[in-house]
Point group: C2
Chain length 346, copies 2
């Protein structure tokens, strides 16, 4: 499947363990994960011991490590689904692939196991095309090309910062949608990767993503936490927020974000109806978040992802902070994160 | 396949006949076309009589009709591939579907004949979502929905102005790409429809499209004609130009453009290597056209597609007209077209 040869030393697979028993998860992924280095971060709220099968090149981080490296004041950033960000922080590799622990490898239309890691790395290694939309999807894919009319000056593309994969079976809907359509499952395998155009915003799900840590790492951060954030995806918004950050920073820096392949198979978890009450907070926040990010512009002096994130934190505090304290805390968390990022990376 | 019930009285199928014998084309499309009204416009440069099989509800327009309705000074707008625009001009229906006469119905992954007309009308009848990208593609499709994080305030969508279909077998590449990869054929059936985000530009191919004539009709016009325009697709740019017009007008008016399904099967035609010399003109022009359209903004007083096109013609003349006489002529053709449109529609 892979058209790019993957250098395993450039890839970290980061798993946030919000459940203690990773046995079946790891076994299902063994054919794909076994050649890579894994970083598993245990949710600091989790009391039980992790169960991880033998035979993987894995480094496990727990609450103790989080406290040691980030200090007690910052460690709360990394609770629940946000524990994975600690893995992003300590990784030294170029690419990070991160998949939720309720997902297993999907199969393509031919019944073949999908190597999500190879597809993600391929998405990141081949250029993105955010400045003009190619109607035949990824022009760098085997058998594809740029369509008539695509300017030749744009055919080299730009660096791909983020690759967002999708989900078969249980798709990433919000709690109201899940509650309204309890039996809806996604069975449509769309065989495409595309670059989301510059200036277009999107809901980035953290379930199945990969990114180029060297260019965009600081923008994938735990910042927005709901008052009643729970332990199922649809009760979180951290990934949506960090996805908006990645998109605006990528747009500013002339990089691209891709979406589409690879799919993962997402298993059932949680009770949508029970989540409904909590989720509305996140749903309401998006009504403010989206226009804010759509109108955001960075200064010309912001030339790195870190620069952008510092400007962004200030803009969040100023524009959103007054309307809701959750945004004020998000702005503070962003500054805290950048401080940590600089400290750990140097 | 269709989820919308189609009112045949709202649809015109417009075929530009650049070849005289439409027999096999029409027979292949009979299962799809036979319930609809067809407008066939004969390329005025074509000397031979058209051959059209029996059993269709078809109205044929020839050079005589073009001269009668548009006058001798305007009739040159409608030569070659641009003859189809005459059909757009005289149609009285809400939706127009237009397919090149070298395309036949494609089959989906299950081997079923694709009803391209139903799919196009479905694309046009269901809303578009240009203001936020839905990672699971068309949210209105059966089995799909808006992904977590998609603002509820945007979930009603907006009017879809244009539906761009794709091509199996011979894809719509330019002559250099065809010449470089003579054996490349598109065999990937991507089972998706998506809205191209607002402000993102794209190469609209005229091979397989449909649009809402009532809202966007004036923007689909014959304006940009190459000096050596030929009788194969890759020697034309009229569709690229009119596609850029549609996109900027749709963006301004808060409407959407979709791309993806339906596919058609595109047969071989023409000699890419022989076309190479001519095509470079079009390729070079795109380098100026794309930045022009990307930076274009309409005034607030432009509230209809006609208003927009008049402003656009003036902008073309002013910004592009000096660099190349082909743009000056395009601006004049645009004004000419709007005059015709107003005359014929009233």
């Amino acid at each position: 499947m892979s058209q790019v040869s993957i250098n395993e030393n450039e890839v970290d697979i980061v798993i946030g363990a919000v459940n203690p028993d990773l046995t079946s998860f790891m076994e299902d992924w063994r054919p794909v994960f076994s050649r890579f280095h894994l970083i598993i971060v245990k949710d600091p709220d989790l009391k039980e011991e992790l169960e991880i099968p033998e035979g993987f090149d894995v480094q496990v981080y727990t609450k103790t490590d989080i406290l040691k490296i980030t200090g007690s004041s910052s460690s709360s950033l990394f609770s629940g689904y946000s524990c994975r960000y600690f893995g992003y922080l300590v990784s030294k590799r170029k690419y990070i692939v991160s998949i939720d622990d309720d997902c297993v490898p999907a199969k393509d239309d031919m019944g073949n196991l999908i190597d999500a890691v190879s597809q993600h790395v391929q998405n990141l290694e081949t250029p993105a095309t955010p400045f003009f939309f190619n109607t035949l999807y990824d022009p760098y894919r085997k058998g594809a090309d740029f369509v008539r009319g695509y300017p030749f000056s744009l055919r080299n593309g730009v660096t791909c910062a983020l690759s967002c994969g999708l989900w078969l079976n249980l798709a990433d809907y919000d709690a109201p949608t899940q509650a309204l359509k309890p039996n809806q499952r996604n069975s449509r395998y769309v065989d495409a990767v595309l670059t989301v155009p510059a200036r277009a915003m999107m809901p980035v799900s953290g379930i199945n993503i990969a990114f180029n840590r060297e260019v965009i790492g600081p923008a994938l951060l735990p910042a927005l936490k709901l008052e009643q954030e729970g332990k199922v995806r649809w009760e979180t918004v951290e990934d949506l927020w960090s996805g908006m950050c990645v998109k605006v920073v990528s747009d500013h820096m002339g990089m691209g974000v891709k979406t589409g392949l690879p799919y993962v198979w997402r298993n059932e978890r949680g009770d949508a109806i029970a989540s409904l009450k909590k989720e509305w907070e996140g749903v309401k926040l998006m009504e403010e978040i989206v226009p804010f990010f759509q109108s955001l512009r960075f200064s010309e002096s912001a030339v790195t992802a870190e620069d952008c994130m510092i400007e962004l934190a200030a803009a969040v505090k100023e524009s959103l902070g007054l309307s809701n304290s959750v945004f004020k805390r998000a702005a503070e968390a962003m500054l805290e994160w950048i401080k940590l990022w600089k400290a750990v990376q140097t």
